[in-house]
């Protein structure tokens, strides 16, 4: 890996020039094709989708398949030598100092995301071929899904903040379309509106942050920003804290950080493949990605913001994770879980663990997409989202069951699956950077994660079936992507075992290190086994407790899907004294807490949002009804009313009788005569 390191340093010494020189060759020069193809698919599907066999699904899949070729080649090239390239073309130039460019950047970070988006995207698209079959507006589904993929790649490939904003709002738009995919029901439309508006509020931060930072350094380019930050440029330093906080606020919206997370659970109104790709694996990680792109700003100039960001991440990872305990809707369990995992990533990146956060982003994408697709397969089979309508599905749906278990274990962080390694690295980073309390919160979060995943698996796949009809395993077109995601969920973790360099390719940390300006972010040199053990114990305890409480009761063949179950079945309580105790602890602590948070979520945070909405609406009514129509317009109408009234009064003089007018003349003339005679 000597070559790659040299490259990074050359880039540092040569400044911007080294980026433009590029080392990507053909594949990097043509990487922009990935940003364009999905849009082509989008237009083609809109035009011809209805007439095709899969309603345009084949076009969407085809576009991503070609994309994946490019992404894979770039990924391999980057593994074996490092690829650093940037291609831009100018779309506008104002005067001499304000330049807008579009293009694509090829570096370790973006290659990782290219691969992730295209790989997970392709599998989800293939899955959707089966999932959406026979649904309404399948062509529109694939069109909007392709639009999303294109916008996401535009975001990922952005060489500057402007293109980032374009992709950012583009994915928001696609999200709005797909959350409200079943728009006949206005509830879904409202969920889409909520997502769009929550993100739009956060976008104010992104846009204002972009302006502050961009104007300070005279460019919106990420590489310029990195260099300016590395050099501690004075102009940038002056706005670093404000600009950093604003950008962070933008990231909070897209990445669903407390308290802007409220849109994500509602976003589950869309079809399940949408939730898998957008609201778990890719779109919601855009905020983390943004934070990683501007990382040098936080690393070098805006350290003061770290504390706040870490705290928000910690609240998100723990408090919102608890909500997954009380949800009955399996997609909401996963949604809250996603929010919680995003909290991990944000905490890590904010604390300075660039690699740790992004590695978790990488592994999480696989297993969370897997979990969502598994949930989708179940929903497809039982026609309900609620776990109370499920149960005992492991026999009917073996593939789904086993892949779901793999995903759950990976998410819970069980060695040696992917989630273990990434979560462990986050814990190590938090410990190293001195956020010990947050580290313990994160360990507690790992316990909660394991607990609710055990619950989800138990309620869905164990016990007896409580729904209607006879569920069957999903068709092969849906199970194949599950397997395709389960394999990386098991193995990708070993790509970044601290201290391990795989011969010829190095490790994830090095691949990610291919960038314009290397920064001294922390990544552990070896495994801290004691910390790993603590994390494992927390996860194992969560799994065990969850399993004991929610798994099938052999005597009655009934699942205990509620905390109240022991009260209804005293026999069981005596038989399993241990889960009684656990229930006492868990039920008395996490239950009420989770419920309380759920309550605050529904009535306080959502309530505030609704209140704000209502107040703004009322303000609108007031401004229009009272100020505009009465006051402002009233002035003008009043003026014309006065004129009109005066006219009405005066026109009574006009009787139409000529002799009266003549009398007027004569009277006037006489008055004049008198005046002249008497006075003059």
């Amino acid at each position: 890996m000597v070559g790659m390191r040299a490259l990074v340093i050359a880039a540092e010494e040569g400044g911007h020039g080294a980026v433009e020189a590029g080392t990507g060759g053909f594949w990097a020069d043509t990487a922009g094709i990935m940003l364009v193809l999905p849009f082509v698919a989008f237009l083609l599907i809109l035009a011809f989708g209805k007439r095709l066999k899969y309603k345009g699904g084949e076009l969407a899949v085809g576009a991503l398949a070609i994309n994946l070729l490019w992404a894979t080649v770039l990924f391999v090239l980057n593994m074996t030598g490092g690829v650093l390239d940037q291609t831009t073309f100018e779309i506008a130039r104002i005067g001499s100092d304000l330049v807008f460019e579009l293009g694509w950047v090829v570096d370790g970070l973006s290659i990782m995301m290219y691969f992730l988006v295209n790989f997970v995207g392709l599998l989800v698209f293939i899955y959707a071929l089966g999932y959406m079959e026979g649904d309404v507006r399948v062509d529109w589904f694939f069109a909007a899904f392709s639009l999303f993929a294109g916008a996401m790649l535009v975001l990922v490939g952005a060489p500057n903040l402007i293109q980032m904003i374009i992709g950012w709002e583009g994915v928001g738009l696609a999200s709005y379309f797909l959350i409200g995919f079943y728009w006949e029901d206005l509830d879904n439309v409202r969920a889409g509106n909520k997502a769009f508006m929550t993100n739009k509020v956060a976008d104010v931060g992104l846009i204002l942050g972009t302006i502050l930072v961009g104007v300070a350094i005279g460019s919106f380019d990420f590489s310029e920003l990195s260099i300016a930050a590395a050099e501690h440029a004075e102009a940038l330093g002056a706005v670093a804290v404000a600009g950093g906080l604003l950008l962070f606020f933008g990231a909070m919206g897209k990445s669903a950080q407390f308290p802007l997370h409220i849109w994500l659970p509602d976003a589950m109104a869309g079809p399940t493949p949408v939730s898998a790709l957008m609201h778990a694996a890719t779109m919601v990680t855009a905020g983390i990605y943004l934070m990683a792109r501007v990382f040098p700003l936080f690393q070098n100039l805006a350290q003061d913001t770290r504390g706040l960001m870490v705290v928000i991440g910690a609240i998100t990872l723990f408090a919102i994770g608890l909500l997954a305990l009380v949800a009955d809707d399996i997609k909401k369990v996963l949604a809250y879980s996603t929010v919680s995992q995003l909290g991990y990533m944000m905490t890590a990146v904010a604390a300075g663990g660039y690699t740790a956060g992004l590695f978790h982003l990488f592994t999480h994408a696989f297993f969370k997409a897997l979990l969502f697709l598994g949930a989708g397969a179940v929903i497809h089979a039982v026609h309900s989202n609620n776990m109370s309508d499920m149960g005992g599905l492991r026999k009917e749906m073996p593939t789904t069951y086993w892949t779901f278990v793999v995903g759950s274990l990976a998410l819970a962080g069980i060695i040696p699956l992917a989630g273990f390694w990434s979560k462990d690295e986050i814990l190590a980073t938090l410990g190293h950077e001195g956020y010990t309390a947050v580290m313990w919160i994160a360990i507690a979060g790992a316990f909660v994660t394991a607990f609710y995943m055990a619950r989800a698996v138990a309620l869905t796949f164990h016990g007896t079936y409580k729904g209607e009809g006879h569920p069957h395993e999903a068709p092969r077109v849906m199970t194949a992507p599950l397997v395709g995601l389960a394999i990386p969920s098991i193995f990708v973790g070993i790509l970044n075992i601290p201290g391990v360099d795989w011969p010829g390719i190095g490790n994830f940390t090095e691949w990610l290190g291919v960038r314009v300006v290397p920064m001294g972010d922390y990544h552990p040199e070896g495994i801290d086994w004691s910390l790993a053990a603590i994390g494992l114990v927390a996860a194992g305890a969560g799994l065990a407790l969850g399993w004991l409480i929610f798994s099938r009761d052999r005597a009655t063949q009934k699942a205990r899907d509620r905390f109240e179950v022991p009260a209804l079945y005293p026999l069981l309580r005596q038989k399993y004294f241990i889960d009684h105790a656990a229930l006492g602890v868990v039920g008395a602590t996490t239950g009420p807490i989770a419920r309380f948070i759920d309550w605050t979520n529904t009535y306080i945070i959502d309530g505030i949002i609704n209140l704000v909405g209502g107040v703004v609406k009322a303000l609108g009514e007031f401004v229009y009804g009272t100020i505009d129509q009465r006051a402002v317009d009233g002035v003008f109408n009043g003026l014309s009313a006065v004129t009109d009234g005066a006219g009405s009064a005066v026109r009574r003089l006009q009787t139409g009788r000529v002799q009266q007018y003549a009398a007027g003349f004569v009277a006037g003339a006489l008055i004049l005569v008198v005046v002249f005679v008497l006075i003059v």
């Binding site: 779309i91 769009f196 846009i207 401004v623």
Partner: protein, 540 residues
């Protein structure tokens, strides 16, 4: 094409008028001949403007130099000349004007509002086109004023004759008014009120310019004098104020906006489109072409006030939108907000801000024009504009619903579509206004403007929810609706293409504007340049 150099602009301006004269002699019942004539006249003007684009020299435009310039003596007694020309600033607007008029004619092909009468309507439209094109090329204040006013009459008649006949209550009056009459008169009086002051301002400039040589109405000459610091003090303050009134009413800026929702709501579809797409731009164009270069020092003094009014307009317009029940009225109020961004850009007195204003004007013309087309076509079909009676439009008319969704997204400033650049760059410019302007005022404006974008998204999504989505109300059960027909498609597709093209490649506008605007800002606000010009003026 040598002759085009001298005749090009005259052709673009007066071809529609010639078309109107020809229409005058075509019998009323020969509808095809009438429509063809109207289309040919506007299309030729548009093609001529395309030739203009092709022949225009984009390199290094220096402000106050014009291309395709013509100057002929016209009213010798007051030294008013027929002086026309284009530069990088007026070119995009001129092309927008010729372009939208063509689309309006195409759309009219089978959309006639009661009481039909295509002949009269087309004649009015063509006169309107002459007025609009003329305003964008006039380089003489008298000529500018005449074109500016020519626009009024056709629009007055369009609203007053083809407008909405339903009665409405007006606060302060006990009797009911016909919506169209109230709106037409309000529109006319408001604008006339403003332009009366504007004319006063022009006359004052004319007489004052006598102190520096021959009295003149010539914009080029006055700009030369003004940027050298000729007009200052109370005189300049009053003149700027008078012209401000004229332009602000037209833009419209808060609090002179109240004619706009009424006029738009009452106007026939094509009238609304032309009103939104082009007429509003005459005001903001006037600021850039006349107020700023001729009275630069005074413009700086007025800038904070303009910025504050602009931001009030942004927030206020958006809030008012949230209270609307009438779709057309909602779109009309959204114009108040969008033009607020344009004026905020101008108020910053920077090259970024003025460029933002120009692209904002073009984008608003395309987007809001399309929105009014859509609102018109929908009320043609549903016979109502009340959003509470609409719903599920995308189910009843998928293509129209889709276009409406697209346009609403463009209107809320989605990045990647035309509307984004104007808003974003206006905010950028407000962060760093011209040196010497109050940072507090402008940065507060920036934040409030950004909040305004959120409100904009709010009402646009809300409109989509009420009009486009959900199940159609029972009222429309069993009705079949004709989706977008080919004339509508022919009028709308070019707009959609342009909205996307400008969104992804704003250079198409900036290529023309950026050098000219930079030069304008240097000339007007750079102290060194001003001093140099001032000494030159005294020497001459």
């Amino acid at each position: 094409m040598e002759w085009f150099e001298t005749w090009g602009l005259t052709i673009i301006v007066f071809l529609p008028l010639v078309g109107a004269l020809i229409l005058g002699v075509i019998p009323k019942d020969n509808e095809d001949a009438l429509k063809t004539t109207g289309l040919v006249a506007t299309l030729l003007a548009f093609l001529a403007s395309l030739v203009l684009i092709a022949q225009f020299d984009y390199s290094g435009g220096v402000y106050n130099t014009y291309q395709f310039e013509v100057e002929e003596s016209w009213i010798g007694a007051i030294n008013a000349n027929y002086h026309v020309g284009v530069d990088g600033i007026s070119l995009p607007l001129l092309v927008l004007s010729t372009f939208v008029v063509v689309l309006a004619v195409i759309y009219s092909w089978n959309h006639w509002d009661e009481p039909k009468n295509p002949k009269a309507f087309l004649i009015l439209m063509l006169i309107l086109a002459t007025g609009m094109n003329g305003t964008f090329v006039a380089l003489d204040l008298v000529l500018f004023f005449i074109f500016f006013e020519v626009v009024l009459l056709p629009m007055y008649f369009m609203i007053g004759i083809w407008g909405d006949k339903s009665p409405r209550k007006v606060p302060g009056f006990s009797k009911l008014f016909e919506t169209r009459l109230y709106a037409a008169i309000k529109f006319f009086l408001f604008t006339l009120f403003g332009s009366a002051f504007m004319l006063l301002g022009f006359l004052a400039l004319y007489f004052e310019s006598g102190n520096f040589g021959e009295r003149t109405f010539d914009i080029v000459e006055l700009t030369r004098l003004g940027s050298g610091g000729a007009f200052t003090g109370t005189f300049a303050f009053l003149v700027f104020g008078a012209m401000f009134l004229g332009f602000a009413v037209k833009v419209p800026m808060w609090p002179f906006h109240t004619w706009l929702p009424d006029a738009h709501t009452a106007a026939p579809t094509v009238g609304s489109v032309l009103l939104a797409a082009i007429l509003l731009k005459l005001g903001s164009y006037g600021f850039i072409r006349i107020s700023l270069p001729i009275l630069p020092q005074e413009a700086v003094n007025w800038a904070p006030a303009i910025a504050i009014l602009a931001v009030i307009g942004i927030i206020y317009g958006s809030l008012a939108c949230l209270a609307q029940t009438d779709m057309k009225r909602l779109i009309a109020f959204s114009s108040v907000g969008h033009m607020g961004f344009v004026m905020l850009g101008i108020a910053t007195m920077t090259d970024v801000g003025i460029n933002a204003a120009i692209i904002g004007m073009v984008a608003h013309g395309l987007i809001t024009g399309l929105l009014f087309f859509l609102a018109g076509s929908m009320s043609h079909r549903y016979h109502t504009r009340e959003m509470s009676r609409l719903g599920g439009n995308i189910k009843l008319m998928p293509v129209m619903g889709g276009i409406l969704a697209f346009t609403a997204m463009a209107s809320l400033g989605l990045p990647g579509l035309a509307g984004f650049w104007g808003e974003f760059m206006a905010l950028v410019s407000a962060y760093n206004p011209l040196e010497g302007l109050s940072l507090g005022v402008f940065r507060t404006s920036m934040v409030l403007g950004a909040v305004g974008t959120v409100l904009t998204a709010g009402y646009m999504l809300w409109m989509l929810q009420r009009v486009n989505l959900g199940e159609p109300p029972n009222e429309w059960e069993g009705h079949t609706f004709h989706d977008v027909d080919r004339y509508e498609a022919a009028a709308w597709v070019p707009l959609i293409v342009l909205i996307v093209a400008i969104g992804f490649f704003p250079k198409v506008i900036f290529t023309s504007t950026t050098d000219t605007v930079t030069s304008l800002v240097d000339m007007a606000f750079d102290p060194e340049v001003t001093a140099a010009l001032g000494s030159l003026m005294k020497g001459g």
